[in-house]
């Protein structure tokens, strides 16, 4: 499956000076943790944040895996890109109630990759809405699940109501190379946007 070799190195290289951040977001069970795990050079880590009381009252995770706690998890991984530069990938759920988590995640992030599942495209709207609220540019990657229906790109674009310039790619979150290509599509899009913004 081409997963990244698990590195023994917990710490960053001494020469690293810059940390870049990209988000990997999407609805429940869309493959965020798998995607981060495929790319990370360290064993992916998880942090948890307490949820607001208001969120706890409307917790729609109740019943899933017996999950009734008032915490939300965020998985993340690390990819050293050069002697000076390290990339962090943060995967988190796209529910609106995790306000503080989203503030933390989006602060300083370059952009986001939205993972989508063709069986549940409608569930991607929440997270795309949140990204738009936070003014964070994104690309969409359809994570191909075995047995999931394949649709033509135009159909997916229409179903997700994507803007014409929003990249749409497919990937296999279990595969490092495939996942890397999805990130490359995102970063190329960010470059184009950036160039456009600075030249207007």
């Amino acid at each position: 499956m081409g997963s990244a070799p698990a590195s023994e190195d917990v710490y960053l290289r001494q020469t690293v000076r810059t940390a870049a951040k990209l988000l990997v977001v999407g609805h429940f069970a869309v493959g965020k943790t798998t995607f981060v795990g495929s790319l990370s050079e360290i064993k992916p880590l998880r942090t948890e944040e307490t949820m607001t009381q208001a969120g706890a009252l409307v917790d729609d995770l109740a019943g899933i895996d017996g999950k009734s706690t008032t915490t939300v998890a965020m998985d993340f991984g690390r990819l050293t890109l050069s002697d000076q530069l390290v990339l962090y990938l943060f995967g988190a759920p796209g529910q609106k109630r995790f306000t503080r988590l989203w503030q933390d995640m989006t602060q300083g992030a370059l952009g986001a990759l939205v993972l989508a599942d063709t069986r549940r495209l409608d569930q991607s709207f929440d997270v795309m809405g949140l990204l738009e609220e936070h003014d964070l540019p994104y690309a969409v990657a359809v994570n191909h699940f075995d047995g999931a229906p394949s649709y033509h790109e135009d159909e997916i674009r229409e179903a997700l109501d994507l803007l014409p310039d929003t990249p749409l790619v497919t990937c296999d979150a279990r595969d490092r190379i495939s996942s890397t290509h999805a990130l490359i599509a995102l970063v190329q899009y960010l470059q184009v946007r950036n160039a456009h913004r600075t030249h207007v």
Binding site: V10, Y11, L12, Q14, V16, R17, T18, A19, A20, K21, L22, F28, A29, T33, I42, L45, R46, T47, E48, E49, T50, D65, G66, K67, T69, T71, A73, M74, D75, F76, R78, L79, L81, S82, Q84, L85, L87, Y88, F90, R100, D104, M105, Q107, G108, L110, I177, T180, H181, L183, I184, V187, Q188, L190, Q191, N194, A195, T198
Partner: protein
């Protein structure tokens, strides 16, 4: 999907911060890189602060990694880090230096790095 983690580290998370939910300084991003100063004594630190400094003596880590390794909430970790920066035990390297490095250059370096990893 992600299995629920044991919850030991999250019981009464703010006990270790003396009840504070916000750090003394608002300079920590999730990817702010921190490292311990080796010449500072650990004797005055509480157990959580000591664990944090001992972790960070090994080398640089991001705030998120510190939280993950110590199994503490990010907000709690930031409070501890704020105190430890104040006391001189921890120093930070700048987070994503949006002001220092033009975003276009950063994006190009990220892209180059991703391509090289293929």
């Amino acid at each position: 999907m992600t299995p629920p983690r044991r919850e030991r580290g999250l019981v009464r998370p703010y006990v270790v911060t003396g009840g504070r939910a916000y750090p003394t300084r608002n300079t920590f991003d999730l990817v702010t890189l921190v490292i311990a100063q080796h010449d500072r004594p650990l004797s005055e630190l509480n157990p959580e602060q000591r664990r944090l400094v001992e972790l960070c003596r090994g080398g640089a880590l991001s705030v998120a990694e510190v939280a993950g390794h110590l199994e503490l909430a990010v907000s709690v970790t930031k409070v501890l880090l704020g105190d430890l920066v104040d006391s001189g035990h921890i120093v930070t390297r700048a987070p994503i230096p949006k002001a220092q490095l033009p975003e276009s250059q950063l994006l190009q370096e990220v892209l180059d790095g991703l391509r090289a990893s293929l």
